[in-house]
Structure formats: structure tokens, C-alpha cells
């Protein structure tokens, strides 16, 4: 439907019914300071009673209000934010900091986790940025990113409005003055998800299972600890964000269950790339990209042997976790906490 198609409906149907049909329309009226209206009147009737000066403050006359209202209904009735399905992204190599060509072509599909490793300052975050902006040989690295095997058209690149990619990083915090519940509801509303109560509930439960110390639905998001915030962000990104690609820049010191976090993200058929210095996360990935001096030096598939090693690393990790819990609980760490390592 075009905006004009809504005009007939808006002029004939009382506003109360319009608001029930299009719940978001409440926001439009509130933005125009028209929040306490007689719900049995139609919008044109309501506008008759509104002082022209007030409308003029918004730069609109009565007809324009109706037109804008219809445009609003049209814009928000479009098929759910339509982020089209992504079946793959491909990284075509550019050049490293010394200008040497990067000899890679790497395709990643949903459900895959790719880690990015390399020394500090080598260019891990830069690679994530290239993906975020769907670089077309126009960033310092001259890399090119393909979507579904082809060059994304310019329009998609721009209009995606950041919707293709969700980002998580160490530096991110909550700034909204809302409770966890209000926060999740607000996000669900912006995604126009129906049955949001169930999603909110699930998100909350999952976030709590990742976090060490539990929090409640009426905790203010700004009062969550670092680890709790990170857990909520991960659960929210996995379950409530529409973006098919998730870029994670360093998650290690978050004090959360990293293994479960990664599982959760991949389980939701997302493409996950994470820059990391953490062996546990690096080996959890299906592949890892090794960055050296700004360029992709190689791409390594996690081998069967490494997967066995990963199990050992996980065992070591859980020993550490155990000690951490002993410390948190106010205990004294016993010598036996660390098993003797076998000599070989």
C-alpha cells in the first residue's frame, strides 16, 4: 500500500480504531502533542479542534498532518524491517600495511563462527570495520566484501542503516534510564515483534543464565554489573536483533560464560566474527583468521587435534572458574584446586 491508500481509512475510521489497528501510531500523535484525543472522532475531526498555531509550530497545516500520518502508517506497515536473508559474506583480500597484496578469498555462511587473531595493533578491529561498512576497495585496506556472492548495490550498502550488522564490544554500556523489562520491551517494540512478552521473558532468562550473579526484571539496566550488562547485550543481540551478521570485538574479560554465549549466537543462524586474544574463543570458532601487519596472513580451519586441545583448555578454564568462584565466595584457595599436571 502507498501512503495515499491510507488516507481514506484515516478520514473515515475513528482514531481509536486506527490506533488499535496500528499501535505504533500512538507515537506519531504523541510526537505532535496530540496524545489525549477523543477516540470516537476521526483524525480530520480532531484536527478541526486543534489550534492552527500549534500545528504551525510543527511546520504543518491540517492537510499535511493527515498526509504525514498516512506516510507514517505506510512506513511502519512495511514488511518487518525487511532485512533480506543473507546466505553468505565473502572477504576478498586487499593489501596489508606495507602495501603487499592479501591473497585470500574467504566465504562465511550463517551458523559459522570465525575468530580473528593477531598481535595488538595488527588490524583485527579494522577487518571488522571493513565488514561493517561492506568495504568496496575504498578503505585503507582495499578489501572488498561481497554479500551472497555478489557486490552489494550501493543502495543496500547505505540504506541498510546499520541493520546488516550488529556489534558488541568491551566499551559498550547501557545509557537508557530503564529497567531490564522496559528495556527489552522497548527493543521488541522497535522491531515490531508480535508476542513480545514471550521474547522478553526468554531474553531475560538467557541473559541470566550467562551472567554470574543473577539480576531481576526490575533492575535498572544502568545498574547492571559489567558481566550482567554483557550477558544482557549478548542475549538481546542473539534473540532480538534483526541483524544477520554479528561482529564481536573482544569479549574476554566480561566475566560471563563465553562458551554458552557463542553457542547462543550461532544457534540463531547468525554469521559471527570475533576478534579475540582468548584461546578458548579462538579455538571455539570453525575457522580463524590470522592477521599480521594489517593483512590476513592465513586462514586456519580448526583441526580435529585442536578440538581435542580445546577440551583440555576448557578443563583448565573450568579449574580457573572454580578458583574464581572460591575467591568470590570468600573462600581460601586450596592447593588441591589445581590438579598435578602429568609429565610427558
Amino acid at each position: 500500500m502507498k501512503a495515499l491508500d491510507y488516507a481514506a481509512e484515516v478520514s473515515a475510521v475513528p482514531i481509536g480504531d486506527i490506533l488499535r489497528r496500528y499501535p505504533l501510531a500512538v507515537d506519531y500523535l504523541a510526537n505532535m502533542r496530540l496524545d489525549r484525543v477523543d477516540e470516537f472522532k476521526t483524525l480530520p475531526e480532531i484536527l478541526e479542534d486543534v489550534d492552527e498555531d500549534i500545528l504551525e509550530e510543527f511546520g504543518l497545516d491540517r492537510e499535511e498532518v493527515i498526509f504525514h500520518f498516512c506516510a507514517f502508517l505506510e512506513a511502519f506497515s512495511r514488511k518487518r524491517d525487511s532485512v533480506e536473508a543473507i546466505s553468505s559474506i565473502t572477504i576478498l583480500g586487499g593489501r596489508d600495511k606495507a602495501g603487499r597484496p592479501e591473497m585470500v578469498e574467504l566465504t562465511i555462511t550463517p551458523g559459522e563462527v570465525v575468530s580473528i587473531v593477531g598481535p595488538t595493533g595488527s588490524g583485527k578491529s579494522r577487518l571488522l570495520e571493513d565488514i561493517e561498512c561492506l568495504a568496496q576497495r575504498d578503505t585503507p585496506t582495499a578489501r572488498q566484501i561481497l554479500i551472497n556472492g555478489s557486490v552489494p548495490d550501493l543502495d543496500k550498502r547505505f540504506s541498510a542503516g546499520g541493520k546488516l550488522v550488529a556489534q558488541l564490544s568491551q566499551n559498550m554500556n547501557f545509557v537508557m534510564d530503564l529497567t531490564v523489562q522496559e528495556f527489552l520491551e522497548m527493543h521488541a517494540k522497535s522491531r515490531m515483534i508480535s508476542g513480545s512478552a514471550a521474547v522478553v521473558e526468554k531474553c531475560f532468562a538467557v541473559a541470566n543464565s550467562l551472567a554470574g550473579e543473577k539480576f531481576t526484571l526490575d533492575t535498572k539496566v544502568t545498574q547492571l554489573s559489567g558481566g550482567q550488562s554483557r550477558s544482557l547485550m549478548i542475549a538481546d543481540t542473539a534473540l532480538l536483533s534483526s541483524s544477520p551478521i554479528i561482529l564481536i570485538d573482544e569479549l574476554e574479560n566480561a566475566g560471563i560464560d563465553r562458551r554458552e554465549a557463542v553457542k547462543l549466537l550461532v544457534g540463531n543462524e547468525k554469521i559471527v566474527l570475533m576478534s579475540t586474544h582468548d584461546p578458548l574463543l579462538a579455538l571455539r570458532a570453525d575457522k580463524r583468521i590470522v592477521i599480521r601487519n594489517g593483512g590476513i596472513a592465513k586462514v586456519i580451519e580448526t583441526t580435529a587435534e585442536e578440538e581435542q586441545t580445546l577440551q583440555k583448555i576448557e578443563a583448565i578454564d573450568s579449574i580457573l572458574l572454580d578458583i574464581r568462584n572460591q575467591l568470590r565466595g570468600g573462600g581460601v584457595v586450596a592447593k588441591e584446586s589445581i590438579p598435578e599436571f602429568q609429565e610427558n
Partner: protein
């Protein structure tokens, strides 16, 4: 010469975004200039000077900043033409939330930041509603969810604008904005062009220097508030 108007609340990241976008344009040094419109003080010229970007600052002082903008933007264009600029950017801090220093046909960019609160897009009015491009900054410090909700609130106010995320510190996203700047209209003058939105009325006695409070001192265009009966 291409003219781009950039507006946005104080400290939203306008200068940072402009600097990064100019860098992304990759034009010869000295061919992109900036005119900053502010009310009392500004330190932006130091940052433009550092990057060898020709710039001028105009202070509104006691004049309404928006009226000051319209009465001087034509002069800014003349300055830019004389300097032989290929791109001129105006930066203005939207000081009252009602202003929108946008001109029909001229690329209009509004810069707002994620830290200003999720409801801010709903409050800043014409400056957001009439912009062609809305640049959202400081996404690096808030959660993904907050970025999404913020963008959603923007679209509720201006569904037709292009929303871009730019990091004012690293410049991430700036080159996309540069793409739009490259397509901005070439002009020689602004004469006879129209503002997108009327300027705030400023024709009461206080505009002309009155300082005493009381109904008897108020003349001209005055809007009186209605309070609930008690």
C-alpha cells in the same frame, strides 16, 4: 561549489564528523572549507586550523542564532566562492530545538548522538524532521539495542531520511557520508532559495533589549502558557 549544511545539538559530534568526512572526501588541501555558526563561544576553529581547513566562525551574540544563520549564510557562500572552494560546509549548533537551518535543494545533515537519550529524536523537531541525512554518533559506547531503538525513534520522526552511523573518533562510517556529499548540488549563490521551515518568531519586546519582567513590558508576538485551574 557544493554546499552542505550540518546542524545538530551542542556537542553531538558535528565537528568530529565534518573533519572525518572531509578526510574521506580526499580532495586537495584547501578546497573544502567550513563556516561555523555559534552563539557565544566556539573552539572549533582550532580543530579546523589544525587540519589546514579554511574556516570562519560567526557568532550570533544577542541575535537569535537561527535568524543570524539565514542572514549570513549567503555571505558564507560568497566567501567560499571567493576562496575558490569546491565544497563548503556550514556547521551550526541547534540551540533552540525548533530551528532547522535547512534550505530547499541544499544537502541537509543533522548530527545527533546516541548518548543524548532515546527520546531525543522525538524532541528535536524540524532540525531532524527536515534533514536529508541523519548522522548518529557515539554508537561505540552504547549497546546494539540502544542503537536500534534510537534509529527506530528517528524513523518515527523522519521516515524518509537516510540514517548513517558515524564514529566521530575513528571515522568509521564517514566515507559513506562522503559519498552523499559528493552528490550535493553545485551552486554559485543562495539568493532566492527558500528555507525548508520558518524561523522561530522573534519579534517581541525582549528581542529588542527589554529586560524587565511583567505583562506591561511585553509587546509583539508573545505566547502565553495556560496553567491548569487550581
Amino acid at each position: 561549489m557544493k554546499l552542505i549544511t550540518v546542524a545538530g545539538p551542542p556537542s553531538s559530534g558535528k565537528t568530529s564528523v565534518i573533519l572525518k568526512t572531509i578526510a574521506a572526501l580526499g580532495l586537495p588541501e584547501g578546497s573544502v572549507g567550513v563556516v561555523k555558526f555559534d552563539s557565544l563561544t566556539s573552539f572549533d576553529h582550532q580543530r579546523y586550523d589544525e587540519q589546514q581547513i579554511p574556516n570562519q566562525t560567526a557568532f550570533a551574540g544577542k541575535i537569535c542564532p537561527d535568524h543570524h544563520f539565514v542572514s549570513n549564510v549567503e555571505g558564507a557562500v560568497e566567501w567560499g566562492m571567493k576562496k575558490g572552494l569546491s565544497v563548503l560546509v556550514t556547521e551550526s549548533a541547534g540551540l533552540c530545538n525548533r530551528c532547522s537551518p535547512y534550505v530547499n535543494g541544499i544537502l541537509s545533515v543533522c548530527v545527533i548522538d546516541n548518548l543524548s537519550g532515546v527520546n531525543t529524536p522525538r524532541k528535536i523537531g524540524p532540525m531532524l524532521k527536515y534533514a536529508d541525512i541523519i548522522v548518529v554518533t557515539k554508537g561505540d559506547v552504547v549497546s546494539q539495542a540502544e542503537r536500534e531503538v534510537f534509529a527506530f525513534n528517528i524513523r518515527e520522526v523522519n521516515a524518509s531520511a537516510t540514517v548513517l552511523f558515524v564514529n566521530g573518533i575513528t571515522g568509521q562510517g564517514a566515507f559513506m557520508l562522503a559519498r552523499y556529499w559528493q552528490d550535493a548540488l553545485d551552486i554559485r549563490t543562495l539568493r532566492d532559495r527558500k528555507l525548508r521551515f520558518t524561523m522561530p518568531a522573534a519579534i517581541c519586546s525582549y528581542c529588542t533589549g527589554e529586560t524587565l519582567i511583567g505583562e506591561m513590558y511585553q509587546m509583539g508576538m508573545v505566547k502565553r502558557m495556560e496553567f491548569d485551574d487550581v
